[in-house]
């Protein structure tokens, strides 16, 4: 009787998590990466955060209002403490925003924010340089840091041992008790965490980065860890058969695409050739056969949750039309293209590249493919060393314009536009539309602007969009992670519930 009563209460549970990436630094502003943001969501709290359905959830900001085109006022949560014991207030938000503006990695996003104005200890205005439709999107990256704790010893140094890279004070649900870089990090639940509505019962969190995919899966199947990411599509069917294990997938907005360098190879200047390449690649087949259905074939850059997504643009596949276009362009059977792709950055990236080369061979394009480990590949991508280069992009702001700015805008080294435009494609009208969309406050007009860019990119066959991959997690059946994961892969562990019979498995 007493036992059954006890088990109906949420019990404290331990979660052993094995993801494929490492926490590089405890300083949340040293590196903008998935792993660092996952970490920030554990030991810090953002002002607002994305929910699975794409809406924003109040965290340290309880509500907000647009004062004018440039200003958003945030009302902050009261009676919240940092793990150091200091009380959280508007000064910490102002301090954090200022620090973000000085971080090389976050600067690109925070350059649009001019500064802050503290109204009272729990009210703060965030002022943008120009009318800014993305202020809230950007605020998901503001994890207030403890001003009194960090100030004076808060230098951001890449590759350096700084105070902030070794010490941390946040308001988050967890605090670090042990850390061995690259091996494991142990966190415990913050007993004074402000979120009393949370049903989450993960009391202790052990993070073990496991990069080797088979080791990671074996660790789950043998019961040594409870929750893993990612699981390779090829392993999913057999893992689903295992008793006590479940797999869940969520479509991401990270676009995988192929750049066609117009400056390197004159043939790619010809729109007919670019169109032909687009038509010769069968995105749906790649998704079905290589990703085993764990992804969505793409005909454009914006995923369907983005404003720029145009449902009318679909991936096309037409071999005879592709051959016809190549013939018209004078490249019937004599087009040689060099291609490069990474071979260990994403699951199956090498295989996808090989299949694309084979698909292009079908229309008479000879592809000379070279795949490289990521450490070397990104260097080659920067130097644009091949005619066709495969890459992926995740919009940090979850907005189409970020993709356009980096991938298809005319390159400008001063403004940083087109930094990853390895197609060296340039259409002035796109640059104008991007600039307008950055300050357009009317949602409808903004959607039209972004969709027009997407349409132009499609009409010009500027790049070859390939697919949006799914994020695939696997865990023990008792770990109800499906309620707390999202398409950016920042699981909200603070809300994670692990159900009762977990104890029996141990």
């Amino acid at each position: 009787m007493i036992l059954s009563l006890l088990s109906s209460y949420s019990h404290a549970a331990t979660l052993r998590m094995a993801f494929d990436n490492n926490i590089v630094s405890l300083d949340p502003h040293e590196l903008l990466s998935e792993s660092n943001l996952q970490f920030s969501h554990l030991v810090f709290d953002p002002l607002v955060r994305w929910k699975k359905d794409g809406s924003l959830e109040p965290r340290l900001a309880t509500r907000w209002e647009q004062i004018n085109a440039k200003t958003v006022r945030f009302y902050l949560r009261e009676d919240v403490h940092f793990i150091s014991g200091n009380e959280f207030s508007a000064k910490d938000v102002a301090y954090t925003l200022n620090r973000l503006k000085g971080s090389p990695d976050f600067r690109a996003m925070f350059d649009t924010i001019q500064g802050t104005k503290i109204i009272d200890p729990y009210t703060i205005d965030v002022i943008s340089v120009a009318p800014n439709p993305l202020t809230l999107n950007i605020m998901t990256y503001v994890f207030p840091m403890d001003k009194a704790f960090y100030q004076g010893r808060d230098k951001i140094v890449k590759y350096g041992k700084t105070f902030a890279s070794k010490n941390v004070s946040g308001t988050g649900a967890y605090y670090i008790v042990e850390r061995q870089p690259g091996i494991k990090t142990v966190l415990k639940r913050n007993p004074d965490y402000w979120d009393n509505d949370s049903k989450g019962n993960v009391d202790k969190l052990i993070l073990t980065p496991i990069r080797n995919a088979s080791t990671r899966l074996a660790a789950l199947l043998s019961g040594d860890v409870d929750f893993i990411f990612p699981i390779s599509p090829i392993d999913i069917p057999r893992t689903k058969q295992v008793k006590g294990i479940k797999v869940r997938a969520l479509q991401s907005s990270r676009i995988t695409l192929l750049h066609m360098n117009e400056s390197r190879n004159p043939a790619l200047k010809d729109i007919r050739v670019r169109k032909a390449i687009n038509l010769a690649i069968n995105q749906r087949l790649i998704v079905e056969k290589i990703l085993k259905g764990y992804g969505t074939a793409a005909g454009q850059l914006s995923a369907d949750r983005f404003l720029g997504h145009d449902p009318k643009i679909q991936p096309e596949y037409d071999l005879s039309k592709a051959r016809q276009l190549l013939k018209e362009a004078g490249y019937e059977a004599n087009l040689n293209l060099s291609m490069m792709a990474s071979n260990n950055r994403y699951v199956d990236d090498k295989l996808v590249a090989e299949v694309i080369a084979a698909m292009l061979a079908k229309v008479g394009i000879k592809v000379n493919l070279k795949t490289l480990p990521k450490a070397q590949y990104f260097q080659e991508l920067d130097r644009r060393q091949a005619d066709l280069m495969m890459m992926t992009w995740q919009s940090d702001t979850l907005d189409s314009n970020n993709i356009f700015e980096f991938l298809v805008a005319c390159q400008n080294d001063d403004s940083g536009l087109g930094a990853y435009n390895a197609s060296e494609y340039c259409n002035i009208s796109i640059n104008q539309a991007i600039r307008m969309a950055n300050t357009e406050m009317n949602p409808e007009r903004r959607i039209r602007l972004l969709q027009s860019i997407e349409r132009t990119v499609y009409d010009d066959a500027a790049v070859v969009p390939l697919f949006w991959k799914s994020l695939n997690w696997a865990a023990k059946k008792t770990v109800h992670f499906e309620d707390v994961v999202n398409d950016q892969n920042y699981p909200h562990i603070d809300r994670l519930v692990i159900s009762g019979d977990e104890g029996n498995n141990l």
Binding site: N22, V24, S25, L31, L32, S33, P104, D105, F106, R107, A108, M109, K158, Y159, G160, K161, S165, Q180, P181, G182, I183, T208, I210, R211, N212, S214, T215, A218, A219, L221, S222, G223, D224, N344, P373, K374, A375, Q376, F378, Q379, D382, W393, D396, F406, D413, G416, A419, Y420
Partner: protein, 326 residues
């Protein structure tokens, strides 16, 4: 003897200089370390500034000179990822790797020696044939397949053994944490050690068997039999002792191979040793750590070879040190 050691010392320095030159000359091929620790949205001028502060824009010869200056002071550079001195990091992980190697060697001696001896005494028995068959399998199947198979059978199917990591460790002294003193640590040690043993043992079983077969045919063994000595004494004292020299030689070489094998084993079992550290460093283009690892391993090679040569002298007093150096 002293002259021998001095010569070996000079040899070690030459080896390490050569390794450091090689590790430096391949650095530009490993990739750009700054790429790893910068978000893709960082602009080019920031990237250049970081490369400049890390000294990556200097010519390779200048970088090498700076490196040598550091090494002279015992400074092998600071790992980009760990933000700690590279040498200290490696020495920190050394105990974990040494435990793997030592346990493997102990198991090898305890299993390979009797197996090899028995296989030589009764070459046609069922046991000998089975040993020979298994050892051929061990030689021909790559270690990572053995390791994955072990994980599949013992961790996933039978759920007997942990599949990765080092488990609970006990602090001994300094930075030495051992897994040998806790039940959990020993359980974690089992699979990696068995995988390594299976990979490395067959060659010893075969070697001991072959050497024994030859020695058992020699005149002094026949003489021992006719003297009426006990068979245990003949086999294990008279015969086995004389098979020692080639086994010691191969043993020295295999210890080196064992270090190479630990890279595979450690990455499959996520064993937090030097090999795992190294393979991660390669993935991150963490060049100071890569150079330091290669130099430390080079040093271990020279050291083991020196020890082997010293043991040589103990096993066979007729060997003179001066006669077989360099």
């Amino acid at each position: 003897m002293l002259r021998f050691l001095l010569r070996r010392f000079i040899q070690a320095i030459v080896v390490m200089v050569v390794i450091s030159i090689i590790s430096f000359s391949i650095q530009s091929q490993i990739g750009d370390p700054t790429q790893q620790l910068l978000s893709p949205t960082v602009n080019q001028s920031e990237r250049d500034a970081l490369r400049e502060t890390l000294g990556l824009n200097d010519p390779v010869m200048v970088q090498y000179w700076h490196f040598l200056q550091g090494v002279a002071k015992g400074d092998f550079g600071v790992s980009y990822f760990h933000k700690e001195p590279a040498l200290a990091l490696i020495l920190d992980k050394l105990p974990a790797t040494l435990e793997l190697i030592v346990c493997t060697l102990v198991i090898m001696i305890l299993v390979a020696t009797p197996c090899g001896v028995v296989a030589a005494i009764h070459p046609r028995s069922l046991f000998s044939r089975a040993v020979m068959l298994i050892s051929s399998l061990g030689i021909s199947v790559p270690i990572f397949i053995i390791a994955i198979l072990m994980v599949y059978v013992f961790s996933i199917q039978m759920q007997l053994m942990p599949s990765f990591g080092r488990g609970e460790t006990v602090h001994v002294f300094g930075s030495w944490e051992t897994g040998l003193l806790s039940k959990d640590g020993l359980a974690h040690l089992a699979l990696p050690v068995f995988s390594l043993s299976i990979a490395i043992m067959p060659i010893f079983i075969r070697l001991i068997r072959a050497e024994m077969l030859e020695v058992l045919e020699s005149d002094y063994i026949r003489f021992a039999w006719s003297k009426g000595l006990s068979s245990a004494r003949i086999y294990f004292i008279h015969a086995l002792k004389n098979t020692a020299l080639p086994i010691i030689t191969i043993g020295g070489i295999q210890t080196g191979t064992l270090i190479a094998y630990t890279i595979f084993t450690e990455s499959i079992f996520q064993w937090p040793g030097m090999g795992f550290l190294f393979i991660e460093a390669v993935g991150r283009a963490d060049t100071p750590l890569i150079s330091a690892y290669l130099i430390v391993v080079g040093c271990i090679f020279v050291l083991t070879n020196t020890v082997v040569d010293l043991i040589y002298g103990l096993a066979n007093p007729t060997v003179k040190f001066e006669s077989h150096t360099l």
